[in-house]
Amino acid sequence: MQPFQELDYYALDDLLTEEERMVREQVRSFVDERVLPIVAAHWEAGTYPGELNLEMARLGMFGPAIPEQYGGAGLGAVAYGLICQELERGDSGIRSSASVQGSLVMYPIHAYGSEEQKRAWLPRLASGEVIGCFGLTEPDFGSNPGGMRTRCRRSGAEWILDGRKMWITNGTSAGLALVWAKDEQDVVRGFLVEADRKGFSAPETRHKWSFRCSVTSELVLEGVRVPESGRLPEAQGLKAPLSCLTQARYGIAWGAIGAAQACFDEVRNYTLQRQVFDKPLAGFQLTQEKLADMATEITKAQLLAWRLGQLKERGQATPARVSMAKRNNVHMALQIARSARGLLGANGITLEYHTGRHLCNLETVLTYEGTHEIHTLTIGEAVTGIPAYR
């Protein structure tokens, strides 16, 4: 296999700091050497390569933006984005695992947890000793999480949780579940639920044709008792879980570029080598139009992500701005994967080529963390002032 060659049509490397480039190179080597050789076999078998967790943790990929005192690396937003980009060049599911750990578990503990909770959990999550998951979506409430049915009620020094969560990445392998539930006044609250608590179970969702090397689960909570010390004291209302999603979506906007780059690189090499009617497939106008579209869309996506990173470092990456990059970049990556699959011909349906796996994975990425349609409405609301969700 030819070594990966990143498309950098507009010399965007110049916009990165030396440190950001170094972070990207390290994660890129890790993906080349540790992820790509094993990922297709895991995807086919439907297993998560758990051995990568400790390696990713040792490199610092779990919660890299968390301050060093809690086990993170204190990286900036662009560096974090580049990590997601490189991981997703390997596989969207593997990037998701790191996203959930960092953006959906470590971030809320850092943002909404007590000092005690931060000290107790963040270093263990950063080191990979504990894997976390985030339970917000329910079987009947995806785009409208405010309708959640999971309930929490106070009973002395404890809270009792009842309900079901669905489509939870890392659920079955998690030692710690961050569960969102409504109290008796309908206020959304967050709880740190250890997986061994009585009444908690996390059966795995099987028979997926996407995200096959990522664990997806249901969370079942039947009278689970959690002490008051397990409640995130600073999280009140739906804003708290939504703010976590903004973090994760930011990473996805970068990650999608990685998946698109993987497909583009593969199909460019393939069409240059594949001879059709006595010349390379890349020498035909129909092929070149596709490759030109891919290169242009990747470059636009890179600019969106980089600018969003700059805004995030200044505290100006509003949810609506994040929506635009997530929506555009994931859709762009999916279109590129589909187009690349076509250019690969029959080869494109085998797992020997990475494109088909990315294509299937991206169908998930289009839907999760805010569907493409919901992000459309978020942007629509931002430019008109009129919410059109209902």
Binding site: Q2, P3, Q5, E18, E19, R21, M22, V23, E25, Q26, S29, F30, R58, L59, G60, M61, P64, E68, A73, G74, L75, A79, I83
Partner: protein, 251 residues
């Protein structure tokens, strides 16, 4: 245990090289540069030996252009304690002897127990700088090492030789050039990258003498001639054997 490791910034081996306008060097535009791969083994061994000894320092030294600070920063991110760049715009045009003199001048007077190099830099492939520096400094040198033990003031090293391993000993201080297989180089961790910003990276101007070897011209290899189809199936074998014997002269 104080260790010095000499490293070089080289073009990535996957880069498609273009010869520059001077016809004597490569055009760096669009070329990805990185730490010489054999130097990664040298750096890893330096860090391992320091840590095994329970203390000491690892200092990375490079003779190169200002851009080589990036590779030195990578070595710091991997865990080295300090770095020194002997800066010279002439460095890419210098031969091994000139490079070795520049490195030896900078290392002389510094205390070290072990001095590591990659066995060769993958750009010029000369294999010479490590042994030359050791000779200039008057310390023993063991080259192409695939296994190393340090104990009681001496090193025992396994060298790769044609089809076998040679086991040699030398007293400290000693120079070692690293061959693939010596160890598994670590990745720089993200924390290491952040910490590297705060570590000392000194840049000094290197005075270089006249190179002993001058690069007169660089040329791309001639394009490969088109292959010849001898025939198809078993009946083509005799003709193929004849051509391999008499034309290609490989049988």
């Amino acid at each position: 245990m104080d260790v010095i490791v000499c490293v070089k910034r080289v073009p990535s081996t996957t880069t498609r090289v273009v010869i520059g306008g001077d016809r004597k060097s490569i055009d760096p535009t669009g070329v990805e540069f990185l730490l010489n791969p054999y130097d990664e083994f040298a750096v890893e061994e330096a860090l391992k030996q320091r840590d095994a000894a329970g203390g000491g320092t690892v200092t990375a030294v490079s003779f190169g252009t200002a851009e080589a600070q990036k590779e030195l920063r990578t070595v710091l991110a991997m865990g080295a304690d300090a770095a020194l760049l002997l800066q010279s715009a002439q460095a890419p045009l210098c031969d091994g002897a000139t490079t070795a003199r520049a490195l030896a001048d900078a290392i002389r007077g510094r205390k070290f127990d072990l001095l590591f190099f990659g066995k060769q830099a993958v750009d010029m492939d000369q294999h010479g700088v490590g042994p030359a520096v050791a000779t200039l400094l008057g310390v023993p040198c063991i080259s192409e090492v695939v296994h190393l033990e340090v104990k009681d003031g001496k090193v025992t090293a396994h060298r790769e030789v044609e089809g076998a391993h040679e086991i040699v000993e030398a007293p400290l201080p000693c120079a070692v050039t690293a061959q693939k297989g010596l160890n598994e180089p670590r990745y720089a961790t993200l924390k290491g990258i952040m910490a590297a910003k705060k570590k000392p990276l000194d840049v000094v101007d290197a005075s270089v003498g006249e190179p002993l070897v001058e690069i007169v011209e660089m040329k791309m290899p001639p394009p490969r001639a088109a292959g010849k189809m001898v025939g198809e199936g078993p009946e083509a074998v005799p003709a193929l054997v004849q051509l391999l014997k008499h034309e290609a002269k490989v049988l």
